[in-house]
């Protein structure tokens, strides 16, 4: 009988034994762009550790930060950028050091069939194109501004949404023509939207760190989850959802 990982190191075990002495439940506060992938990770983590429950709270990263600092019961925090993670650490809410678990890159999102014929970043400024963005405080919003700046494109978004998922929703509904989100978001939305690639020269790589939150009741479960995300199983799951590997 293999010993179950109990706050152990980065997992070498590719399939954990079904019996596990881990029990408890954790709340994982994760950036909106991690919705699909983390839901999948949550399911397989629970299958590996049946005595454990995982609840997810997905929202724009700054929103999650505000919630944690106001006392929301988070055990794990997965951020869409290092800036917000840095703030949380500096304010003393983290336990242990954060680790990068995934990377992402930007892609333009449009309606299926690309009716407005968007081919490059410059097309976002075309008249007749309704472009929306995330608010600058949201990591994706910040990166969008960087990408546009590097391509020398000047365009004013019609709305500053609170998360990438809000942007995708508006594209799906047909209210807006284009936005800039992560590759993973476009993959998760499936046939409801279409992506237009941004060349590497203008693209921005987002790094996603994850950390355990201080004062969590089930720190062993929290750390086990983080280890799972960083394990090869976790990493390959993330890759199927379109994330770039952590290194």
């Amino acid at each position: 009988m293999l010993l179950a990982a109990c706050g152990g190191t980065g997992g070498t075990a590719s399939s954990s034994p079904t019996s596990s002495s881990l029990s408890g439940y954790i709340n994982v506060f994760a950036a909106a762009s991690l919705t699909a992938s983390f839901n999948a990770l949550g399911i397989s983590f629970h299958q590996a550790h049946p005595g454990v429950g995982v609840n997810f709270n997905f929202a724009g990263t700054p929103t999650l930060l505000a919630q944690i600092e106001q006392g929301a019961p988070a055990d794990v925090f997965a951020s869409a950028d290092t800036t917000n993670m840095g703030k949380l650490t500096a304010d003393g809410y983290t336990a242990g050091t954060s680790k990068i678990f995934a990377r992402n890159q930007l892609e333009i999102v449009v309606a299926p069939g690309n009716p407005k014929g968007i081919k490059r970043l410059a097309d976002l400024a075309k008249s007749g194109v309704i472009y929306i963005s995330e608010a600058p405080t949201v990591p994706a919003g910040k990166y969008s501004l960087q990408a546009l700046a590097s391509a020398g494109v000047k365009v004013t978004p019609k709305s500053l949404e609170t998360s990438v998922t809000a942007v995708i929703s508006k594209i799906e509904l047909g209210e807006a023509d284009a936005g800039i989100v992560y590759t993973t978001d476009i993959q998760a939305a499936g046939s409801k939207v279409q992506g237009v690639q941004i060349p590497a020269a203008n693209n921005v790589i987002a790094t996603y760190p994850i950390v355990a939150v201080k004062g969590t009741k089930y720190s062993d479960v929290a750390n086990a989850f983080i280890d799972y995300v960083l394990s090869s199983t976790g990493q390959s799951t993330l890759e199927t959802f379109g994330f770039l590997s952590a290194s």
Partner: protein, 261 residues
């Protein structure tokens, strides 16, 4: 004058209920950074959001009056098939989650909406992401308050005054403007104020239907929501401002809620 003792069974829950509302207000007052209050309040984004909020909420109230008073009149005075259903429908936004209202507005007036797509293809007009869209969202959630109050006022007024006016030769329009409206004045006023206060505080429908952009669609509640992430303490101050405005309005109304003169 002898005052009767309030029974404990009433006093204790009432006190708890009161505390439920008083404590958040106290929390805001205590945690607000009064030193930075001035800078927070005079920051250009704040001023812009406040101006937009006032403009949009007053416009929503105006629309509410123009469309709501005739509706209230129909509900109070005219028997027509389906009246109860229509009244329920136009009161629905009061109990609906505002975001749901926003989604419904998108499906009707958005670019691909039932009516919105026609607007777009015929006139090139789109309503989301515009200030007009904000006014629409606010009107949607706030107008039911006005309709309800005015209808109650119309039902409780003595209609014989209208007969007296007619017997004196007043046309129906004159009866309405010179007799009916003045007699329901208090209800009309209360309804308009409630409508305005609700419009001022609207968030969910606004951000869903109209979006969020400073100067165009970023009203005070939206600004506060976003400030919560960037400058928490500034958001406290602005929340307090919004809360105090609403409080003053409601205190001013006192007991002139639903009812007649």
């Amino acid at each position: 004058m002898r005052r009767e003792r309030v029974p404990i069974v009433v006093l204790v829950p009432a006190a708890i209920g009161a505390a439920f509302f008083i404590l958040p207000l106290l929390g805001l007052i205590v945690r607000s950074p009064w030193g930075d209050a001035f800078t927070a309040l005079t920051a250009p984004e704040t001023v812009e959001a406040l101006k937009l909020s006032l403009l949009a909420s007053l416009s929503a109230t105006a629309v509410g009056l123009v469309l709501g008073v005739p509706l209230a009149w129909m509900y109070a005075r005219v028997e027509f098939p389906g009246r109860d259903w229509l009244r329920a429908l136009t009161t629905l936004p009061m109990v609906l989650p505002p975001v749901v209202g926003g989604i419904a507005l998108l499906l009707a007036f958005g670019r691909r909406g039932l009516f919105g797509s026609w607007l777009d293809s015929t006139f090139g007009i789109t309503l989301p992401f515009t200030t007009a869209g904000v006014v629409m969202a606010e009107t949607f959630v706030a107008m039911p308050f006005l309709i309800l109050t005015v209808e109650a006022g119309l039902r409780s007024m003595d209609r014989r005054y209208e007969e007296a006016a007619r017997a004196l030769g007043a046309s129906r329009w004159r009866v309405f403007t010179r007799v009916t409206l003045p007699l329901i004045g208090p209800s009309l006023f209360a309804g308009a104020v409630l409508c305005w206060a609700r419009a001022l505080g609207e968030f969910g429908a606004t951000i869903t239907f109209a979006g969020n952009f400073p100067g165009v669609t970023q009203t005070m509640p939206l600004a506060v929501y976003l400030l919560l992430e960037t400058n928490q303490e500034a958001s406290f101050i602005l929340s307090l401002v919004l809360l105090l405005i609403s409080l003053v309005v409601l205190v001013g109304l006192r007991d002139r809620w639903l009812g007649s003169a």
